[in-house]
Symmetry: C2
Subunit: 252 residues, 2 copies
């Protein structure tokens, strides 16, 4: 039986990044896509039980089925696993996201939310993102990179509760692949006024990301800024085990 690969994203089912990721996964298995029916950038792991979620069939051909879904990336993934797939997929991939999800962006991303949900289900998964927000960015040269990394994950597996966050630099002269840790960085000057003649206090989310450790070559931001593909392994257990020990000394 060919491997079954579930794909989702946060840019929606019509995005070019999704099409490129489908191309990259076709040689590896049968593809099942459940992706949002519109943009969900910055959706993080958001879910809701306040409104129903729905899906629509979009396209079927040999080895490929595509559904759109009204929910967030996590809702798409949950609905695929609980309602749409006949068996558990062998791999879940997300992306290719139009924009970097390196460093602390992993907390805000809807792309890495898909892989968080995958890891919570114990399914190996990889999030792919390109450091370029332009929806028309060239993606063809990323296809073999995604096939290579996903193929290795299918072959080797991943430990329960962990996934790979893969971020690809904008350059077309990629220097190689580096395994990294998350860089500590900060978003600064995060809002700009949105003037309105009728009054009120309105702001656009904006800002710049500042790398707090730009000379440390172990981070994902260092790799990207030196034209390497960054692979950051991420755990779903965020417990601070060192701090557990320290807190036991407190007068709680």
């Amino acid at each position: 039986m060919r491997p079954l690969i579930l794909i989702s994203n946060d840019d929606g089912y019509t995005s070019r990044g999704l099409a490129a990721l489908i191309d990259a996964m076709r040689p590896l298995g049968d593809i099942f896509v459940v992706a949002p029916d519109g943009p969900r950038s910055g959706a993080s792991c958001s879910i809701t039980d306040a409104v129903p979620v729905s899906y629509k069939h979009v396209h079927s051909e040999e080895g490929l089925k595509i559904y759109s879904c009204s929910g967030s990336p996590v809702m798409c993934t949950k609905l695929a696993l609980d309602q749409l797939l006949m068996r558990q997929p062998d791999l879940i991939v997300a992306g290719i996201n139009h924009g970097s999800n390196a460093s602390i962006n992993v907390h805000y991303s809807g792309t890495t939310a898909v892989t968080t949900e995958a890891a919570l289900h114990g399914i190996p998964s990889v999030a792919f993102s390109l450091n370029n927000h332009d929806p028309q960015a060239r993606l063809e040269h990323l296809v073999p990179i995604c096939t290579h990394i996903a193929g290795l994950v299918l072959e080797q597996g991943l430990p329960y509760g962990s996934y790979l966050n893969v971020n690809i630099p904008e350059t077309e002269e990629i220097q190689g692949i580096r395994v990294c840790r998350m860089a500590y960085s900060r978003w600064v000057e995060e809002f700009e006024p949105c003037p309105r003649s009728r009054g009120g206090h309105y702001f656009w989310l904006s800002g710049e990301q500042v790398d707090d450790e730009p000379s440390d070559d172990s981070t994902d931001l260092w790799a990207m800024s030196h034209d390497y593909v960054a692979i950051t392994p991420i755990m779903i257990d965020p417990t601070d085990y060192e701090l557990i020990q320290a807190l036991k000394e407190w007068d709680l």
Copy 2:
């Protein structure tokens, strides 16, 4: 100068949990509230730059200012830090959430999203949640517990990049406080059909949380089910450092 304490939540600025948390923080410092203008349960760390975010002044008195905000819990927190506060707060607290945020719920919660954002800014923070979804649940007896824990955090500080996820059992006979790790658990049977005579495929998010390690007394779910307050320290760096070593053996 009295400590400055920022409060937010995901149940909205009118929730009783927020009122109880304000009561709990009043003895510790000056209070600044920026909370969503309606319910945002399950918002996780969602953000958006697709629509402007706005705030409204709700109430001011000596030592207490309350603002409502159109955004997610993280947008409330960012807006407070970037636009509304005159200086960086000494502490950020979130809650009291109506419903548990123990175990893997930390990924979906809008309450722990506030404290994630706080930790990303290097500000000590604590998320408080009660294991009871009823918006009318009794909360008065939680006030001294919240004052006690937040007071210790103000006194001792927390390491950069970590916050406390505090979950309080529903019982009124609390046995004590335990420092815990996140329990591994799973949500199962996550959807129920939402029939519609006009057709389409609609579902309500539903499901049951299953504890995968119910007899392990080191977890937050164990503590809660044995009537203890669970304090789980959480890190914003989710890098899987062990897996970095393993991946370096792969033929990448």
